[in-house]
Protein backbone atom coordinates (compact mmCIF):
# COMPACT_ATOMS: atom_id res chain seq x y z
CA UNK A 1 0.00 0.00 0.00
CA UNK A 2 1.37 3.35 -0.96
CA UNK A 3 0.44 5.91 1.62
CA UNK A 4 1.98 9.24 2.38
CA UNK A 5 2.29 10.54 5.90
CA UNK A 6 -0.91 12.56 5.86
CA UNK A 7 -3.18 9.79 4.69
CA UNK A 8 -1.57 7.42 7.14
CA UNK A 9 -2.19 9.81 10.02
CA UNK A 10 -5.81 10.13 8.96
CA UNK A 11 -6.09 6.37 8.69
CA UNK A 12 -4.46 5.81 12.08
CA UNK A 13 -6.65 8.42 13.76
CA UNK A 14 -9.73 6.74 12.35
CA UNK A 15 -8.61 3.31 13.53
CA UNK A 16 -7.44 4.49 16.97
CA UNK A 17 -9.66 3.39 19.81
CA UNK A 18 -11.98 6.27 20.57
CA UNK A 19 -11.68 7.24 24.18
CA UNK A 20 -15.22 7.34 25.52
CA UNK A 21 -14.94 10.93 26.64
CA UNK A 22 -18.45 11.28 28.03
CA UNK A 23 -18.14 8.19 30.19
CA UNK A 24 -14.67 9.30 31.34
CA UNK A 25 -16.00 12.72 32.29
CA UNK A 26 -18.93 11.24 34.20
CA UNK A 27 -16.72 8.98 36.30
CA UNK A 28 -14.18 11.79 36.82
CA UNK A 29 -17.00 14.03 38.02
CA UNK A 30 -18.45 11.42 40.38
CA UNK A 31 -15.15 10.26 41.88
CA UNK A 32 -13.51 13.69 42.03
CA UNK A 33 -16.64 15.21 43.51
CA UNK A 34 -16.84 12.46 46.11
CA UNK A 35 -13.21 12.96 47.17
CA UNK A 36 -13.75 16.72 47.48
CA UNK A 37 -16.94 16.26 49.49
CA UNK A 38 -15.12 13.79 51.75
CA UNK A 39 -12.31 16.30 52.16
CA UNK A 40 -14.87 18.95 53.01
CA UNK A 41 -16.30 16.66 55.69
CA UNK A 42 -12.85 15.93 57.12
CA UNK A 43 -12.13 19.65 57.32
CA UNK A 44 -15.42 20.23 59.16
CA UNK A 45 -14.48 17.43 61.55
CA UNK A 46 -11.07 18.96 62.33
CA UNK A 47 -12.64 22.39 62.88
CA UNK A 48 -15.27 20.78 65.12
CA UNK A 49 -12.40 19.22 67.09
CA UNK A 50 -11.15 22.72 67.83
CA UNK A 51 -8.42 23.19 65.22
CA UNK A 52 -7.83 26.51 63.48
CA UNK A 53 -9.00 26.89 59.87
CA UNK A 54 -5.42 26.76 58.59
CA UNK A 55 -4.52 23.64 60.56
CA UNK A 56 -7.78 21.94 59.68
CA UNK A 57 -7.05 22.50 55.99
CA UNK A 58 -3.48 21.28 56.38
CA UNK A 59 -4.56 18.14 58.24
CA UNK A 60 -7.28 17.46 55.69
CA UNK A 61 -4.68 17.48 52.90
CA UNK A 62 -2.32 15.35 54.99
CA UNK A 63 -5.05 12.82 55.74
CA UNK A 64 -6.03 12.54 52.07
CA UNK A 65 -2.35 12.23 51.18
CA UNK A 66 -1.86 9.46 53.76
CA UNK A 67 -4.86 7.53 52.46
CA UNK A 68 -3.71 7.90 48.85
CA UNK A 69 -0.15 6.81 49.74
CA UNK A 70 -1.44 3.72 51.56
CA UNK A 71 -3.76 2.79 48.69
CA UNK A 72 -0.81 3.25 46.33
CA UNK A 73 1.35 0.99 48.46
CA UNK A 74 -1.28 -1.75 48.51
CA UNK A 75 -1.65 -1.44 44.74
CA UNK A 76 -5.28 -0.38 44.98
CA UNK A 77 -4.85 3.18 43.75
CA UNK A 78 -3.79 2.27 40.20
CA UNK A 79 -6.72 -0.12 39.83
CA UNK A 80 -9.18 2.56 40.95
CA UNK A 81 -7.48 5.31 38.93
CA UNK A 82 -7.96 3.31 35.74
CA UNK A 83 -11.69 3.94 36.07
CA UNK A 84 -11.70 7.36 37.74
CA UNK A 85 -9.08 9.08 35.55
CA UNK A 86 -8.83 12.76 36.40
CA UNK A 87 -11.24 12.21 39.30
CA UNK A 88 -8.40 10.84 41.42
CA UNK A 89 -5.61 12.76 39.65
CA UNK A 90 -6.75 16.33 40.23
CA UNK A 91 -7.48 16.13 43.98
CA UNK A 92 -4.41 16.13 46.24
CA UNK A 93 -4.67 12.32 46.11
CA UNK A 94 -3.21 12.34 42.58
CA UNK A 95 -0.17 14.29 43.73
CA UNK A 96 0.30 11.89 46.66
CA UNK A 97 -0.04 8.87 44.36
CA UNK A 98 2.54 10.28 41.95
CA UNK A 99 4.99 10.90 44.79
CA UNK A 100 4.50 7.50 46.42
CA UNK A 101 4.47 5.39 43.26
CA UNK A 102 7.64 6.94 41.83
CA UNK A 103 9.36 6.44 45.19
CA UNK A 104 8.17 2.84 45.55
CA UNK A 105 9.10 1.96 41.95
CA UNK A 106 12.65 3.31 42.30
CA UNK A 107 13.50 1.70 45.64
CA UNK A 108 15.77 -0.87 44.01
CA UNK A 109 17.93 1.98 42.65
CA UNK A 110 18.94 2.94 46.18
CA UNK A 111 18.05 5.47 48.85
CA UNK A 112 19.71 8.47 47.22
CA UNK A 113 19.67 8.03 43.43
CA UNK A 114 16.51 5.90 43.69
CA UNK A 115 13.94 6.99 46.25
CA UNK A 116 15.55 10.35 47.05
CA UNK A 117 15.76 11.55 43.48
CA UNK A 118 12.88 9.79 41.78
CA UNK A 119 10.35 10.81 44.44
CA UNK A 120 10.46 14.18 42.67
CA UNK A 121 9.62 12.88 39.21
CA UNK A 122 6.16 14.47 39.39
CA UNK A 123 6.41 16.35 42.70
CA UNK A 124 9.46 18.25 41.43
CA UNK A 125 7.79 19.98 38.46
CA UNK A 126 4.69 20.73 40.55
CA UNK A 127 6.76 22.27 43.37
CA UNK A 128 9.20 24.12 41.09
CA UNK A 129 6.51 25.79 39.00
CA UNK A 130 4.01 26.25 41.81
CA UNK A 131 6.55 27.86 44.12
CA UNK A 132 8.06 29.92 41.29
CA UNK A 133 4.62 31.18 40.25
CA UNK A 134 4.09 32.13 43.88
CA UNK A 135 7.38 34.06 43.94
CA UNK A 136 6.47 35.93 40.74
CA UNK A 137 3.13 36.81 42.32
CA UNK A 138 4.97 37.97 45.46
CA UNK A 139 7.23 40.28 43.44
CA UNK A 140 4.25 41.76 41.59
CA UNK A 141 2.24 42.13 44.78
CA UNK A 142 5.16 43.74 46.61
CA UNK A 143 5.90 46.18 43.77
CA UNK A 144 2.26 47.15 43.33
CA UNK A 145 2.05 47.69 47.08
CA UNK A 146 5.22 49.82 47.10
CA UNK A 147 4.01 52.02 44.22
CA UNK A 148 0.57 52.35 45.76
CA UNK A 149 2.04 53.35 49.16
CA UNK A 150 4.22 56.01 47.56
CA UNK A 151 1.32 57.39 45.54
CA UNK A 152 -1.01 57.30 48.53
CA UNK A 153 1.11 59.22 51.02
Amino acid sequence: MNTDNKTYKKYAAGRAKKSPILKNCASAFASGGAICAAGHGLRRLFIYAGLSDDNAGMLTSSALILIAVLLTGFGVFDTVAKHTGAGTLVPITGFANAVASSAIDSRTEGLVPGIGAKIFTVAGPVLVWGISAGAVWGIVYFLVGAVFMKGGT
Binding site: A28, G32, A34, S61, S62, G94, I104, I119, G130, G138
Partner: protein, 118 residues
Amino acid sequence: MEYLRAFTVGGALCVLAQILIDKTRMSPGRILVIYVVAGVALGAVGLYGPLVEFAGGGATVPLTGFGWLISEGVRKAVDAEGAVGILKGGVSAAAGGITAALFFGAVASLVFRSKPKR
Protein backbone atom coordinates in the same frame (compact mmCIF):
# COMPACT_ATOMS: atom_id res chain seq x y z
CA MET B 1 -26.07 21.80 50.65
CA GLU B 2 -22.47 22.80 51.29
CA TYR B 3 -21.43 19.21 50.54
CA LEU B 4 -23.28 19.38 47.24
CA ARG B 5 -21.38 22.56 46.38
CA ALA B 6 -18.07 20.88 47.30
CA PHE B 7 -19.01 17.85 45.21
CA THR B 8 -20.09 19.85 42.17
CA VAL B 9 -17.19 22.30 42.03
CA GLY B 10 -14.59 19.62 42.80
CA GLY B 11 -16.14 17.29 40.23
CA ALA B 12 -16.21 20.05 37.62
CA LEU B 13 -12.49 20.75 38.10
CA CYS B 14 -11.84 17.05 37.53
CA VAL B 15 -13.99 16.98 34.38
CA LEU B 16 -11.99 19.90 32.98
CA ALA B 17 -8.78 17.90 33.46
CA GLN B 18 -10.40 14.77 31.99
CA ILE B 19 -11.30 16.71 28.83
CA LEU B 20 -7.71 18.01 28.62
CA ILE B 21 -6.38 14.45 28.96
CA ASP B 22 -8.76 12.97 26.39
CA LYS B 23 -8.50 15.79 23.86
CA THR B 24 -4.81 16.70 24.05
CA ARG B 25 -3.25 13.48 25.43
CA MET B 26 -1.39 15.64 27.93
CA SER B 27 0.53 13.67 30.57
CA PRO B 28 -0.88 13.62 34.11
CA GLY B 29 2.25 15.38 35.37
CA ARG B 30 1.66 18.26 32.99
CA ILE B 31 -1.96 18.55 34.10
CA LEU B 32 -0.85 18.77 37.73
CA VAL B 33 1.66 21.53 36.93
CA ILE B 34 -0.98 23.46 34.95
CA TYR B 35 -3.44 23.11 37.83
CA VAL B 36 -1.06 24.28 40.53
CA VAL B 37 0.12 27.29 38.47
CA ALA B 38 -3.50 28.11 37.55
CA GLY B 39 -4.35 28.01 41.26
CA VAL B 40 -1.56 30.49 42.02
CA ALA B 41 -2.69 32.79 39.19
CA LEU B 42 -6.38 32.63 40.08
CA GLY B 43 -5.52 33.20 43.73
CA ALA B 44 -3.34 36.17 42.82
CA VAL B 45 -6.08 37.94 40.83
CA GLY B 46 -8.54 37.25 43.61
CA LEU B 47 -10.84 34.80 41.81
CA TYR B 48 -10.01 31.63 43.70
CA GLY B 49 -10.71 32.97 47.21
CA PRO B 50 -14.45 33.40 46.51
CA LEU B 51 -14.53 29.89 45.02
CA VAL B 52 -13.07 28.53 48.26
CA GLU B 53 -15.73 30.46 50.21
CA PHE B 54 -18.40 28.95 47.99
CA ALA B 55 -17.23 25.36 47.59
CA GLY B 56 -14.95 24.65 50.57
CA GLY B 57 -13.30 21.29 49.96
CA GLY B 58 -14.46 21.41 46.34
CA ALA B 59 -11.91 24.17 45.78
CA THR B 60 -9.23 23.34 48.36
CA VAL B 61 -8.85 19.59 47.70
CA PRO B 62 -8.03 19.83 43.94
CA LEU B 63 -4.45 20.80 43.13
CA THR B 64 -5.57 24.30 42.16
CA GLY B 65 -6.27 24.67 45.89
CA PHE B 66 -2.61 23.90 46.57
CA GLY B 67 -1.66 26.75 44.21
CA TRP B 68 -4.19 29.04 45.87
CA LEU B 69 -2.64 28.19 49.26
CA ILE B 70 0.78 29.25 47.92
CA SER B 71 -0.55 32.56 46.55
CA GLU B 72 -2.40 33.33 49.81
CA GLY B 73 0.70 32.50 51.83
CA VAL B 74 2.80 34.87 49.71
CA ARG B 75 0.21 37.66 49.98
CA LYS B 76 -0.05 37.37 53.78
CA ALA B 77 3.72 37.15 54.23
CA VAL B 78 4.34 40.24 52.06
CA ASP B 79 1.64 42.10 54.01
CA ALA B 80 3.28 41.14 57.29
CA GLU B 81 6.98 41.36 56.47
CA GLY B 82 7.42 43.13 53.15
CA ALA B 83 9.80 41.82 50.49
CA VAL B 84 11.17 38.89 52.53
CA GLY B 85 7.66 37.47 52.40
CA ILE B 86 8.18 36.80 48.68
CA LEU B 87 10.69 34.10 49.63
CA LYS B 88 8.92 32.76 52.71
CA GLY B 89 5.19 32.89 52.24
CA GLY B 90 4.49 30.28 49.59
CA VAL B 91 6.35 27.29 50.96
CA SER B 92 5.42 28.15 54.56
CA ALA B 93 1.74 27.97 53.70
CA ALA B 94 2.16 24.71 51.82
CA ALA B 95 4.64 23.18 54.30
CA GLY B 96 2.25 20.64 55.82
CA GLY B 97 1.13 19.17 52.53
CA ILE B 98 4.64 19.06 51.07
CA THR B 99 6.07 17.35 54.14
CA ALA B 100 3.18 14.90 54.35
CA ALA B 101 3.54 13.89 50.69
CA LEU B 102 7.34 13.51 50.77
CA PHE B 103 7.54 11.86 54.22
CA PHE B 104 4.65 9.43 53.69
CA GLY B 105 5.92 8.70 50.18
CA ALA B 106 9.45 7.99 51.43
CA VAL B 107 8.25 5.73 54.24
CA ALA B 108 5.89 3.93 51.87
CA SER B 109 8.77 3.23 49.49
CA LEU B 110 10.62 1.48 52.33
CA VAL B 111 7.58 -0.50 53.48
CA PHE B 112 5.89 -1.52 50.23
CA ARG B 113 7.20 -3.53 47.31
CA SER B 114 6.74 -2.33 43.77
CA LYS B 115 3.82 -4.07 42.07
CA PRO B 116 4.26 -5.44 38.55
CA LYS B 117 2.44 -3.22 36.05
CA ARG B 118 -0.36 -4.87 34.16
